[in-house]
Assembly symmetry: C2
Homo-oligomer: 355 residues x 2
């Protein structure tokens, strides 16, 4: 399946990733339709049409899919049932329902990664307080308890240490299926953003060093300060993951880098990723364009670096700075969100650096 | 007047320039509304809203302007009356009605350029066959007869030489107010694309060498193969023109370069320009972003070159090539036009080169 220009790409999700995907699609001559619950959403503002509806509204999904030549996602927590509804209409769905399904469950995700030979930090599935007590004894005392589903940007997780009240932590998370991740004494975090085309070809971006604050990505710096073999191993593992998933599109695989250079996978996102927001400015082909090319069945563009780069997220009040100041600090992208809220991603800056 | 992000920019015109302006506006967090006669137009496909109406429909223009925080143009032949209707609603109009008015009349344009001390190739205003006969004797035999208004991409003009039938040429053009432009033995053509902010600051792009075929721009190459002082003189003259026009936004001034390096202005376009389509890929800040920043009252970004570049237009059947071939030839931009017609600009390619 390969699109012609002028064809229509549907985007499940209505946030900033959809907005930036729609921009890349427009530059390649495509039309776009977004689908999501938000009124006046970042993606809805820029797509040719927007369906404001819930992801479990199968009538709306069917109508949406009927106007699209391919459907993709910008949000990995779109229910798998929504993808299945799209697929049932005969409209191609890329990257594929399987990738969504695996990524939405932290336990399935770790199993899938380990089955693919991608080492993860120590973890245990938690289905009861008893499981938690046993796992904490085995992996703790420093560990993170996370819901199996629906967490992002530090939400749905509790940090544990020596004197943690495990019963309280279990209750805080809602006594729902969870995962305990043992603390890893990592040196830094990196992610490998990679595109895989419908033909199986991959375009791997240089891994970025990612700096988080309060569970939210604050900065991504490229090239990451790691040895060449570490960077290329991260790319190789990301490529292997996309192949195992029979993936079409852009995916990000996050790693902890240990002091000895060993890589432990943390999680992956089956979509374009915040840690790749520097790619449009710094690479031959940005992540948004390559995702669109992949889902359109077009050949990928080169991911090679033209510049070094530092990407900084504008979170909450960061975006209240005078626009003159923001513009003076780098290439500015804003997401069309009028209301500033704490922790809300409002935009980002990219500063180019000599390689 | 300075916009806040989330504000709305109106675009008079519905073509590819509007499409690319809307993309730049979206990246800066703005909403966009386009206005033009086309159904399913390149700009209308990507703006949040589109008014399909004629430029002389003052009720539609008033309604359009009422939803916009500022209005700009992507097409210099938008009637001045449309700009005046917008201005009468109190919505700011940038670059300004005067620039449109001057640029729409080739005689007014040459007078304005010469009054600003910008030398032009020899020309005469033609209001009758007698004028044409006299002017052809003075400037000819090689010369071009053009309508004063409404010509673009080689339309509305007749080339004259020694044995031309002047009466037939005059009739062919419809016996309407015209201009005769004497032939100039130029070495090459360049254009200076420049942005001027609401604060009067300018950002001048490196002049490009422009290669035309059949009256249509085929390629723009940067840096242009001219001496440094010639390039900087072109930028200085373009800056002077924007200042004289009290211009806000991006403007392109085209020149003939003679063998001795002398510059003769040909015409200017009060808008982003085809000969600046390489700027998003090759410069710190592209022409579309700088136009949006200017009309928003935001500070301009640097126009400095990061790479050399060659821009090639995809005209008519050029766009029928397999997309794989087009993608292999450079950064591809397509305009969302489904129907290929001879001479129709369908998209463009940008190839980067080391500086």
């Amino acid at each position: 399946m390969s699109l012609e220009y002028g064809d229509t790409i549907g985007i499940l999700g209505d946030g900033q990733l959809g907005r930036m995907l729609a921009g890349a699609a427009a530059r390649l001559g495509f039309r776009t339709i977004s689908f999501g619950p938000g009124e006046d959403s970042p993606a809805g503002q820029v797509c040719g049409r927007h369906f404001t509806a819930s992801y479990d509204d199968s009538a709306a999904l069917t109508e949406f899919a009927s106007h699209c030549d391919v459907v993709t996602v910008e949000f990995e927590n779109v229910p798998v049932s929504a993808a299945e509804t799209v697929i049932s209409t005969g409209t191609p769905f890329r990257p594929g329902a399987n990738a969504l399904s695996v990524a939405q469950d932290r336990v399935e995700e770790k199993r899938f990664l380990e089955d693919a030979g991608i080492a993860c930090a120590p973890w245990r599935a938690i289905d009861s307080l008893e499981d938690l007590i046993a796992a904490h004894a085995a992996l703790g005392p420093d560990a993170i308890l996370k819901t199996r589903r629906d967490g992002y940007d530090g939400k749905g997780q509790v940090r544990l240490s020596t004197d943690s009240d495990l019963a309280a932590a279990w209750a805080e998370l809602g006594a729902q299926p969870a995962i305990l991740e043992g603390f890893v004494a990592f040196k830094l975090e990196i992610s490998a953003v990679i595109a895989r085309g419908a033909d199986g070809a991959v375009a791997a971006y240089a891994p970025s060093r990612n700096v988080h604050e309060g569970g939210i990505l604050r900065r991504a710096i490229v090239p990451a300060p790691v040895a060449t073999d570490v960077a290329s191993k991260a790319q190789t593992l990301a490529a292997r993951l996309t192949e195992r998933l029979d993936y079409v599109g852009v995916l990000a695989l996050e790693f902890f880098v240990l002091a000895d250079g060993k890589l432990l996978a943390n999680e992956f996102a089956p979509r374009v990723h915040n840690s790749g927001h520097w790619t449009p400015e710094a690479c031959m082909t940005g992540q948004f364009e390559n995702h669109i090319r992949a889902v359109a069945g077009w050949p990928l563009g080169k991911a090679s670096l033209l510049h070094g780069a530092e990407m900084e997220n504008l979170i909450g009040e960061d975006a209240a700075a005078p626009v003159e100041d923001l513009l003076a600090r780098g290439h500015l992208t804003l997401y069309g969100k009028r209301e500033i809220r704490p922790g809300r991603k409002m935009g980002h800056l990219v500063r180019l650096r000599p390689l």
